[in-house]
């Protein structure tokens, strides 16, 4: 069954190179922390550089100054510097400049960390889980439904809502695991399609009387009562969700490094044939891993409906309620090298960028969509260490070794 995967994976007739999961692991294990940090720092630097160029050429006022390059070179340089410095410093201030900003950063990091853990866990088992988006949607849907439709005592209500969200994500992820393990359906295709199915089902649910707010014609759910809202600390957006995300990271670390199941997950990811020979059930591991990954993505999703928005109350369920957390999670997992600790840092970085993006938009008149460009570039550069060392020759000696050991571990 495994050899006849639909979309060609590493299991093909060509002499197999290291699988993607193996390479990720290899990078982490063989690369060493310092080299990984250097690659990441270089990637961030390069991304900021490309972002700066993009800002300069796309702003007509600044780009126009470059006509004076030869007559009055200080004009274009000053204008460009002003633009870039203004934007990036606003980004920094918005992310870390005040306690409120830091709280906002934690609020935006929490779902990224949770969903990133889900994607990363899949990677470790050799599964490409592109479906965090759909899993997060079901997490948001079930959590919100428990929140607005059930009447439960304080404390219990929130707990049940959270469990509902976890269950929603786990089931949606588990379906993928079953299809992969029992029917040989490739998880990349299945998860991509399941994302859209979840999206359209949510759109449909919001037109039904069970989900649509009475008296409204637009697709929006009733508001959640305070008993189903995650507590936040002080008047900031530092809320329970961030703590849950960190706890989840510790739990995933324990699972992967200290438990039997985690050993099986890693073994199946590193070499499914060896794992099977050793008597491990690939099918069982696949299903459990996908359900766990789905549950983690569900945790990210439920935060979007249970955690208080800047207004203090949770956002009601609507079409785009989870945003693009499932896709951003993939970049977070990649940047964090699929390691729980790495994912926490990657999630904090991207969460900080998202939080700062809003400040950049209001303070420096630079659209916060720039943040998405920067994030995509960072991951692109991290994924291609050879390119980074070509662009930054002074890192060459260190990075060449990193990519060489990374490829063979």
């Amino acid at each position: 069954m495994s050899a006849t995967s639909v979309e060609g994976g590493p299991a093909s007739a060509t002499p197999p190179g290291p699988s993607f999961g193996q390479r990720l692991l290899g990078v982490f294990r063989g690369g060493g922390l310092w080299r990984e940090a250097a690659t990441t720092a270089a990637a961030i630097l390069l991304a900021l550089l490309v972002g700066a160029i993009l800002m300069i050429v796309s702003d007509p006022d600044v780009a126009g100054q470059w006509a004076y390059l030869f007559t009055a070179p200080h004009l274009p340089l000053a204008a460009s510097w002003g633009k870039v410095w203004g934007a990036y410093s606003a980004l920094f201030v918005g992310a870390l400049g005040s306690p409120t900003a830091i709280a906002e950063t934690t609020a935006r990091s929490a779902p990224l960390i949770a969903a990133g853990l889900g994607v990363g866990l899949g990677f470790r088992a050799g599964l490409f889980n592109i479906g965090a988006q759909g899993q997060a949607i079901w997490g948001a849907v079930l959590a919100a439904y428990v929140g607005f439709a059930w009447q439960l005592p304080l404390g219990l209500h929130l707990l049940v809502a959270i469990l509902g969200g976890l269950l929603g994500g786990a089931v949606w992820g588990g379906i993928v695991g079953v299809l992969k393990a029992k029917a040989g359906a490739h998880e990349v295709i299945v998860t991509i399609m399941m994302n859209y199915i979840a999206m359209y089902l949510l759109a449909w649910l919001l037109t039904t009387s069970a989900f649509q707010r009475p008296g409204r014609t637009d697709p929006i759910s009733p508001e959640l009562p305070a008993s189903a809202t995650m507590p936040s600390f002080g008047l900031t957006r530092f809320h329970l969700g961030f703590i849950l995300a960190v706890v989840a990271a510790v739990a995933v670390w324990w699972l992967l490094e200290r438990s039997v199941l985690g050993m099986q997950i890693r073994a199946v990811g590193a070499n499914p044939h060896a794992a099977r020979t050793a008597g491990m059930s690939e099918a069982r591991t696949t299903i459990i891993t996908m359900a766990l990954a789905g549950g983690l993505a569900g945790l990210a999703g439920l935060m979007s409906t249970l955690a208080p928005a800047p207004s203090g109350v949770p956002t009601p369920l609507s079409d785009g309620v989870v945003g693009s957390v499932g896709f951003d999670a993939i970049t977070v997992a990649l940047l964090g090298r699929s390691h729980p600790i790495g994912i926490v840092f990657a999630g904090l970085l991207f969460g900080a960028m998202n939080a700062g993006g809003l400040a950049m938009q209001s303070m420096a008149q630079t659209p916060n969509t720039l943040v998405y460009v920067l994030q995509a570039l960072i991951v692109l550069f991290v994924a291609a260490p050879k390119l980074v060392s070509t662009l930054l020759p002074f890192l060459k000696g260190r990075l060449r070794k990193a990519s060489a050991t990374g490829g063979e571990a």
Binding site: M194, T331, T369, V373, Q375, K386
Partner: protein, 430 residues
């Protein structure tokens, strides 16, 4: 389940047909699927009254065809029986070759006609059949281009998950350049260049830097979304009168053919992109199966080392296939702006790139079959919007998710195992 065929039928005497376990499984699952759909159609019998009328021409067509009215209940009953008969026939295992195909086709047609009869029965307005088909062609246009992009890439061994991103950048470039130059030709050119540039990015990272291709596709989609979103916010939005008002592609009626009744308005009164899509399918088929280059593309996608041994440049062939794919993605992306309102909005392609990817897989990596699948998805999407306007109790969201469900059913092996090119997604290192 292993690849070795299992003798499903005991050998009695004379010529006995043997069926591999895989074929048997896919036959049974298809039969069960049709049976379930047939029972679903039968359930609709409880909720049908009046007559269903179908309009074969638009109010504006030159030749006005009569409106066909059929009694609702008997028609739906007939369709249900045909569908169930097809399902039983397939389950029985006695149909082979052309009879099998016939049974599957009849069952499929009965399903569509039966559903439409139910949707149109008892309504004031007739169901616009010609509109349905014309709309199918229009909606399928970008999907066909995207499917060709996917087929070219994957046949050469490069998985392209970033069709969506290529569409998006091309749509943006077309709207921007079209608005500045006020010329559709320049806009199309810009779309093609944008598509090819995105494809070049895919090729650089996938072929030269050996980045995992699925990871890469996801990241490139995010990059395309971020880049077009940023440029839209920064440049286009503040000056949308000058930068987001492109001329659009007019419909080009083909002289003579376009005045044919029914067929004319459906097939021969489309935009240039729809005609190009049709021609492109033939071109890609010819390139892949009738030229030396195409043979090399397929060889490189199946067994790159063997191709390399006989002197084929694996890297070069993959680059050329991916870049050619980018050209088609550019044309497909142009449809979203030039083929509609001439205006770009953020993430305007809304998942069409992924539907195109689904068409590639459902079409088993064959340009012709993939195009047929793209047409099928276009048909379903158009049906979704038509049914929405008919205000039937079936939620249009259910129809819109049909392509995705169909793809999952396909990759789960129900419609027969489809096999990707062997070296699909595997980077080549000498």
């Amino acid at each position: 389940m292993s690849a070795t065929p299992v003798m499903a039928a005991p050998q009695v005497s004379g010529v006995e047909r043997l069926e591999s376990s895989e074929r048997r499984r896919s036959r049974l699952s298809l039969g069960v699927l049709l049976l379930v759909l047939g029972l679903g159609l039968a359930a609709l019998l409880l909720d049908i009254e009046g007559t269903a009328s179908f309009a074969l021409s638009d109010a504006f067509d030159e030749v006005q065809l009569p409106v066909i009215a059929v009694p609702g209940f008997p028609t739906l009953l007939a369709c249900t029986l045909l569908l169930l008969a097809g399902a039983v026939g397939i389950l029985s295992g006695r149909l082979h070759g052309w009879t099998f195909t016939l049974a599957a086709t009849v069952a499929g047609l009965a399903l569509v006609v039966g559903f439409l009869t139910w949707a149109a029965a008892g309504r004031d307005l007739p169901f616009p059949v010609s509109n349905q088909f014309a709309g199918t062609l229009a909606l399928a246009t970008p999907l066909v281009f995207g499917a060709l992009t996917g087929v070219l890439g994957e046949r050469s061994g490069v998985v392209n998950v970033s069709i969506e991103g290529q569409f998006l950048t091309a749509a943006f470039a077309a709207a921007l350049v079209g608005s500045i130059t006020k010329s559709v030709v320049w806009a199309l050119g810009a779309a093609v260049i944008a598509g090819v540039l995105m494809a070049a990015l895919l090729a650089v990272f996938a072929i030269t830097y050996l980045v995992d291709q699925v990871v890469l596709g996801v990241v490139l989609n995010l990059l395309a979304s971020g880049l077009t979103g940023y440029l839209y916010d920064q440049l286009v939005q503040p000056d949308s009168q000058n930068l987001n008002l492109s001329p659009i592609l007019g419909k080009i009626p083909i002289p003579g053919l376009s005045s044919l009744p029914f067929v004319g308005p459906v097939f021969f009164d489309q935009t240039i992109l729809a005609y190009l899509a049709g021609v492109s399918v033939l071109v890609v088929w010819f390139l892949l199966y009738r030229t030396k280059w195409g043979l090399r593309v397929r060889a490189v996608g199946e067994h790159p080392r063997a191709a390399d041994t006989v002197g084929v440049s694996v890297i070069g062939i993959r680059w050329s296939a991916v870049l050619l794919g980018g050209l088609f993605a550019g044309l497909g992306g142009a449809f979203f702006t030039l083929g509609t309102t001439g205006q770009f909005s953020k993430d305007i392609t809304v998942g069409n790139g992924f539907i195109a990817l689904a068409a590639v897989i459902m079409g088993r990596w064959h340009p012709g079959l993939a195009a047929v699948m793209a047409l099928f998805f276009g048909f379903v999407k158009q049906l979704g919007s038509q049914v929405q306007s008919l205000k039937t109790p079936v939620p249009s969201d259910f129809l819109l998710l049909l392509p995705y469900v169909a793809t999952i059913i396909a990759v789960a092996g129900v419609l027969g195992r489809s096999r990707a090119p062997a070296a699909d997604g595997a980077p080549y290192v000498k």
